[in-house]
Amino acid sequence: MKILRINMSTDEPTVKVEDLGEYEGLAGRALTSAIISKEVDPLCHPLSADNKIVFACGLLGGTAAAMSGRLSVGCKSPLTGGIKEANAGGQAGQVMGRLGYAAIVLEGKPKGDDTYKIYINKDGVRVIKDNSIKMLPNYDLIEKIKQEFGEKIACISVGPAGEMKMSAASVAVTDMELRPTRHAGRGGVGAVMGSKGVKVIVLDDAGTTIRQPKDPEAFKDANKRFVAGLQKHPVTGQGLPAYGTNVLTNIINEVGAYPTYNFKEGRFAGARKISGEVEAELEKQRGGNPTHGCHRGCVIRCSGIYHDKDGHYLTKQPEYETVWALGGNCGIDDLDKIAMMDFLCDNYGVDTIEMGATIGVAMEAGLLKFGDADGAINLLHEVGKGTHLGRIIGNGAAFTGKAFGVERVPVVKGQALPAYDPRAVQGVGVTYATSPMGADHTAGYSIALNVLKTGGFVDPLKPEGQVDLSRNLQIATAFIDSTGMCLFIAFALLDQPETNQALLDMINSFYGWSMTDKEVVEYGKKVLKFERDFNARAGFTKQHDRLPRFFYKEPFPPHNVVFMVKDEELDQLFNW
């Protein structure tokens, strides 16, 4: 596997292909975080030529391993000012792996404002100036790219928000139907790609083959056991395929942890109307599909297809966090309107979590009323158009809170909190506070043990045990994010030691390694160390590992609790 470096600073962008060298053994998040930590000046402006954006497939990217298609996107984040790894499904991770690239790194910055597309196939790399694609929304862009390059490709692209370098801009990845629906959403990675003048990377794996393991028989056997384990587990084998991630709406609402009206209350009266159960039924009735994989080789199939009232494709099945952010958090209980907002976010290229939290802050500011779905849709159009108001909203919750003088702004390190209130689920509060990524549920998904009872149970309403829980999950997640595996495999891994072993056997038989659980922990710690080290050099201190003060002061109904994990305990998270 090689590293492909494209420097955009020169009139004719330069292309270099290098061996992995000092990065040998690293992939996915481990590779993006290592490259950013070692090569990027932590004090650089995130939109400057000194920043880099790295796209990396996982250890098993491009192999026959099930679930191995995740793509890591890393850079210095314009939203947080710290290191960022945002992660997406879709086809690009696998195609990159088959093309033989462990990472694609965009470096430098063009002097003018020309727009480029990059085409990569087995024969090499072409960087093509094309100003006709400038400012196209993602769906229109991909239609145009299809006409030029055919349909057997995978694309990584930015919408207008990325080109306008908004801090909430996402990087879109195409799915199995070649739609730009899977996004590396968080931290403004789209703005960094936009700053490089690159609108789209087209990956064409025609004429390539899957990567071959060192021990094919052992690999095949391990993959078989791994898939059987996922299919046997009730979460990955039944719950997620049937209802998708939005199955969480009802349960998080019932436990009183569903942040509503900009994190004021833990229950939303309209929750059932926008739940996964209702969403799946609606999709079936309208000819959509509630059970669908976001990339080839997915056996969990938690994604889906959402049709409008007339039975036409509207968007992919909005995920739980999207339905919460643009729905419940804003007091909106209309699934069709939420689905429209999901489409707009994908099309303009912005993070749905950041946008929902931002609109919640705008509602708190009185810019529009809670529950005003059409007003929220209009705000997203403002973002797409790049009006002055749109540029405020498109820069996220913290920026919007400042612009409108709002005190209650739910962010950590400048990044908006996702769909679980840290007062009612204290473990995820620890993750939000301490993750090098800013508030990010996926960095250490304590909900698994605090609420869903996979891998054990830790009382969500008490501070005890949450730091240990979050630490263990953050370490394990840093490893999983480096394998290219979908994080949802963790549910089966937590409960079934044999499935965990099957994953290790798969990696070991592929590379000829003899990795044990102990080395998995060391691998995860190494990734977190790269990230913490970068953030420390960027100026982050332990005072940045805190939640906004209102979470410590405002009791959260219905349980009327505040966040109770002490600062000194938070500071112990990385003392392993």
């Binding site: 979460v235 719950g239 998708g244 991630t245 009802n250 349960i251 436990v255 966090e321 998904y445 949802f488």
Partner: protein, 81 residues
């Protein structure tokens, strides 16, 4: 004693119960009732895995119920983005 039971995630009862406007089960009994008794009496299609009593996750089936309690039941489920 009257308690309200909410079923989610594909859980259904095989019996006919009086329902609230939202479609939740109204379970009435004159006998003392534990959480375990209630779940047995509901004749559900699947065994509930996540049990929430008045908004709190409850792992102890021997807990006694009281008038007005709200119970939410789920099979094993999960999510995230």
């Amino acid at each position: 004693m009257k308690v309200i039971v909410k079923l989610f995630g594909g859980l259904t009862t095989l019996k006919d119960f009086q329902k609230t406007e939202e479609g939740d089960i109204i379970f009435e009994t004159s006998e003392p009732l534990t959480l375990g008794d209630l779940i047995t009496s509901l004749s559900l299609n699947k065994k509930p895995f996540i049990i929430i009593l008045n908004g709190i996750i409850q792992n102890e089936l021997s807990v006694s119920l009281k008038d007005g309690d709200e119970i939410s039941l789920f099979p094993p489920i999960a999510g995230g983005k």
